[in-house]
Amino acid sequence: MYRWDFAPVAAHLDLLAIGLFNTLRLTGAALAFGVALGLGLALMRLSRRPWAAWPAGLVIEVFRTTPPLVQLFWFYFAAPLVVGVEMTPYLAALVTFSIQSAAFFAEVFRAGIESIERGQWDAARALGMNRGQALRRIVLPQAVKRMIPAFMERAIELMKTTTLVATISYADLLFAANEVSQKTFRPLETYTAVALAYFTVIYGASLLARRIELRLARSGEGTVG
């Protein structure tokens, strides 16, 4: 019978804590860029000008139909040769996950904006607002509220996806686990502890998301996405 011993893993708690911090930092940064970029992509795709709508559609489709790990490898190993810049694992991961989540957020934004009744646009235009003003002052504030549940779900997905950076040696929580398991020769305890750590953080986020969703549902706001 195997005897479990978590003491060697606990001795390297600092490494794992740094790993968790890096995971959260990457998730937060990719989320911020992803939302901003996603709004831009959504507006381009909704645009009536084909030279704006078409490339946005292409980016969205390409990033939704290729595996995230392939994208990450492309940005880490191939992109530096194309552009001629040095890529760090963090930068490659940030670029990949920002664009990738932007592609998903763009669809959430689009569904949200399209869910707002035509009358809201018409009324804004009748008050003398131009398209940009109507979007910023009238449509987006209403649409964003409906999009919150889809956003939170995507943010949780993003956090799980960030584990892929361990394959290009960025020191996230999973990579720290590899290191600790090699140092301690205790892969069972290390990976079990790390799986539980991920579960705690992500489950906590899910519970929070569910509560917010419930509150939104009660306040009578429909949801999209």
């Binding site: 790990l69 392939v70 892969p187």
Partner: protein, 219 residues
């Protein structure tokens, strides 16, 4: 910078072996993931707490941990508790299938719960047992509503199959890594690999869009 796909085309056979590996693991995980999801989903829906609690724990655990962590756990950690080794394919299949089962369980549960109570009552009134009512009346109607979500799951499973490369299972991305490390042509290789994935996934994505549109039109 000059793009040169000659070495990639020369080694198309290496990529073809990878593509077979990708399709194999996709097929296994699709069947196991969507297949296991149904009993788990029914368990989530059961009135008996002895069935419901473990099903709920399973779903919550596998939905709220990253797949890559699960695959790595099955590959490096689980064999310590077992008297035998676990290969890359088995570890990847375990991780991806159980993860997909947890997600599809929620799809089945939602689909079954969306069927009106009256359908159950009608079936029971005709003398059908619970299982018969489920098989003959509820599931055929529910499956139609679940199809778009299940198609999306299939797409996710296909994309997840690349994670098997993290435990050195021979699939498309793994073979791409091999060629890139031998010929120093990452741009062409990874572009080609991305394109192959896109080409295989494109019809699947279109199918899911079509199913979604049809559902919206039909309901």
């Amino acid at each position: 910078m000059r793009w040169d796909f000659a070495t990639v085309i020369e080694h198309a056979d290496v990529l073809a072996i990878g593509a077979v590996g990708t399709l194999r693991i996709f097929a296994i995980c699709l069947v196991l993931g969507l297949g296991l999801g149904l009993p788990v989903g029914l368990g989530r829906y059961a009135r008996n707490p002895w069935l419901r609690a473990p099903a709920t724990a399973f779903v919550e655990f596998f939905r709220n941990t990253p797949v890559l962590v699960q695959i790595i756990w099955f590959f490096f950690a689980l064999p310590i508790l077992l008297p035998f080794q676990i290969g890359p394919l088995t570890a990847a299949v375990l991780g991806i299938s159980l993860n997909s089962a947890a997600f599809s369980a929620e799809i089945y549960r939602g689909g079954i719960q969306s069927i009106e109570r009256g359908q159950w009552d009608g079936a029971r009134a005709l003398g059908m047992s619970w299982l018969q009512a489920m098989r003959r009346v509820i599931l055929p109607q529910a499956i139609k509503r679940m199809l778009p979500a299940l198609a999306n799951r299939a797409i996710e499973i296909f994309k997840m199959s690349t994670l098997a490369s993290a435990v050195a299972y021979v699939e498309l991305l793994q073979q791409g890594k091999l060629i890139a490390s031998l010929y120093y042509n990452p741009i062409e290789v990874y572009t080609a690999v991305a394109a192959i994935f896109s080409v295989i996934l494109w019809p699947l994505v279109q199918l899911s869009y079509w199913l979604e549109r049809r559902l919206k039109g039909g309901e």
